[in-house]
Symmetry: C2
């Protein structure tokens, strides 16, 4: 193969790969020759021959352009999400993440972008532009930013959780926090308890760990304690993963009695509890936390900043016994090297420490409370009944009128560019086929209610 | 417990947690009352009682301050890294990451911060400050930024690797890329081949996967092919993980013959190869890549931007067969939700597409070449002999004078605040006790050579 042919092959591949799109200008002869370490005449020859093939075209005085002739079809994944997929624990995430901005997403698990604290984030980015070099380019430390861990300790103290900075490790996300804990504590074949229904990704994650998943029915005051105790006796589970407040998908929070009984049963059976407190800050007033009752002994607290501050920063945390944190640090080194971006944690710490964040959260809570009222009214008018009235947060877990299947409705609405969250994506026992989870902050568009009415008719 | 006592408890915990440090001012009565949703008089009472206990102290006209009385000792992890640890695959990472700026780190695996393209990064941060809201706050897509994936396709095309955008998934790091691949393809008990020596974290990662690790001796022209073929026959490994160019720790690159024979043997035995090309851009000229020979069939290409652009952005990638990418997307969803920060990928794409990056890399390669010459001269003067002369990159794998043990020397130098990379951290067979890996870009300080001389005497 001559150098000219190699160059031609490289350009053809770039076009096939869409690294060069139809209509795009090719690099100048001199620049391309430098880049590929060949003589300019080789580039000229390659361009001329590709022009002869009709693949590129010269425009007088302005270089060579891609024509788009003979371009193979785009790969499916570039065209949009996989639509035919069945409703499984990945369905809601895949549809919510991979559909474009033309889709409405009342089933998604985050606030609209314009509810988030962008002014504070932009201010933080400007500050980062003036930060020292090491912050911009280095890995950071194994536990993650001490400043951010100390801010978390301050928040924990308000909840009555006493801890030290070496009891916290920062991670890439709330999900990654749970994943690391599972890697530390579980063997394949172990039994893990979750709520039924629970956040769909708990199931997806536990499947990846090849453990046995056992669901305990969830009630408006927390897990059904008798059923929970029974499972602990019968199945000897190693772990219980739960949201202790503003439970996903129901929005319910456990009563103090339930929290106490769950923790007592866990203590009696040597069970470790992962308390995912990702919605903690959306509560108007703190409900009882297992980590507060237990003091980070058998309870591991995890959370993230994705719901309140930004999901684009990718930062979660784990607070646990110091010896477990040591094991988690090694595991994170082995599997991710370090955790979150030091730039991201600097930005988060800046926003949290700034005066405006608490006010921002006050406003968000009020706005959510207002949105929940409106959403209840609108959904009830369509015959959708909330299973419980959450004290805060953004979820409403609604029962469909009799005879309707939420997976079928979700698939129908997806054709109309509406992403819903069908109940069975959340249910280990697949017993939530008549439920949909709504995000009250994402119900602002009238079309959602029109499409829902049509789908229910 | 009264409200006052609760407040007092919260403040005591904050002080114990170091969320409030000695000498730090407590929040004003009005602000703290608002924050804790109590009346100002409750706060006044709590502050007065804590002052009576000597825990805080009033200064006339300027509020209350933490005294620091009765403060428990700081936790060890806040004081510095664990020093007593044995040399294991975590030793180098833990010491390199967790020692502070007063340490010299000729053993670390990254360039000094002032070698990195901060001007371009700062420019990118300023651009991010003006980006649209969704980029600043949303999760992004399951595969990660299409812009960045297309830029990668352009680079692949230059190497002769043809691929489509749906054959790439962006991840949180190069390490996380390998971890996801292991999760997709390995069962516990499987056999995985690595080079001996190899990047220490391959071993740490594979231990986390509970697989059997088999080392193949590495030669200056790549893995010992006869030994490699023997292992494939005897052990039926599922995966081979390697750096195909500028191998870590030796800096060697396989010859075309070795690359061809390794790939042929892999084909004959149905072995999948993970080609970690994290040092690709440090090569002055491209050496043969397994992914170029194979075309992303049984070779999976992974890499990251940590060595060339910034380790603080946390972004890696995987290029592989489209069906494997689908599986990897689900796995990443289950275990991390999404991959890298969309802000980070936007920043990376901006730097890569900007005109200055190629020039920056040209300069880095020249500077490394110069540094390597100086380092060889200085190390040889101490009796340290390079095992091979790498064609680029930042490593020199050096043999110590007879009778010296690199772990002992590394521990001694750590006491003098110098982090070295002792050979056996890299060796599956623990046969590299007389080697040290040096980073030629991190040898600028005279003290390193003085301390090494002392340690060798």
């Amino acid at each position: 193969m001559t150098r000219t042919e190699m160059l031609m092959g490289a350009i053809r591949t770039k076009i096939a790969n869409r690294a060069l799109s139809p209509g795009e200008r090719l690099p100048s002869v001199r620049r391309f020759a430098e880049k590929m370490r060949v003589s300019p005449s080789t580039v000229v020859e390659a361009y001329d021959r590709l022009e002869a093939e009709g693949i590129i075209r010269a425009r007088r005085g302005s270089g060579f352009y891609v024509t788009g002739a003979d371009l193979p079809p785009m790969a499916l994944a570039e065209m949009g999400p996989v639509r035919e997929r069945n409703v499984d624990p990945f369905w809601v995430s895949r549809q919510s993440l991979d559909t474009d901005a033309s889709f409405l997403k009342p089933g998604c698990g985050w606030l609209p972008a314009d509810w988030m604290p962008h002014a504070a984030l932009r201010k933080g980015l400007r500050a980062l532009g003036r930060a020292e070099d090491t912050l911009l380019t280095d890995y950071g430390t194994t536990h993650g930013s001490l400043t951010l861990r100390r801010l978390l300790l301050g928040r924990f103290a308000e909840e009555g959780i006493s801890a030290a900075a070496d009891q916290i490790i920062l991670t890439g996300s709330g999900t990654q926090s749970i994943d690391l804990i599972c890697r530390l504590l579980l063997q394949s074949g172990d039994v893990v308890v979750v709520d039924d229904p629970c956040y769909f990704n708990f199931q997806a994650l536990l499947r990846a760990h090849q453990v046995k998943i056992v669901g305990v029915p969830y009630t408006p005051t927390g897990p059904d304690v008798s059923a929970f105790e029974q499972v602990l006796r019968d199945e000897k589970p190693r772990l219980y993963i739960t949201n202790s407040a503003l439970h996903n998908p129901t929005g319910a929070s456990p009563s103090p009695q339930t929290a106490h009984r769950v923790l007592s049963a866990a203590t009696a059976h040597g069970l470790t509890i992962v308390e995912d407190d990702i919605f903690a800050e959306f509560e108007p007033e703190l409900s009882p936390r297992l980590a507060s009752l237990d003091g980070l002994n058998r309870v591991i607290r995890i959370g993230s900043f994705s719901k309140t501050l930004s999901a684009s920063l990718r930062c979660g945390y784990i607070a646990a016994r110091p010896d477990w944190i040591e094991g988690l640090v090694d595991l994170q080194l082995a599997t991710s090297f370090v955790g979150p971006s030091p730039m991201a944690t600097e930005l988060i710490a800046g926003v949290l420490a700034g005066g405006s964040f608490r006010k921002h959260m006050d406003e968000i809570r009020q706005r959510l409370s207002q949105s929940q009222k409106v959403a209840r009214h609108r959904l009830e008018a369509l015959g959708l009944t909330p299973w419980t009235i959450p004290r805060g947060g953004f979820y409403l877990w609604c029962r469909l009128p009799d005879g309707h299947d939420s997976s079928a409705i979700a698939k129908r609405c997806l054709e109309d560019k509406i992403v819903l969250a069908p109940g069975n994506a959340f249910s280990v026992s697949q017993s939530a086929g008549s439920f949909l989870r709504f995000n009250v902050a994402q119900l602002g568009d009238e079309r959602i209610f029109a499409m829902l009415r049509r789908a229910l008719d």
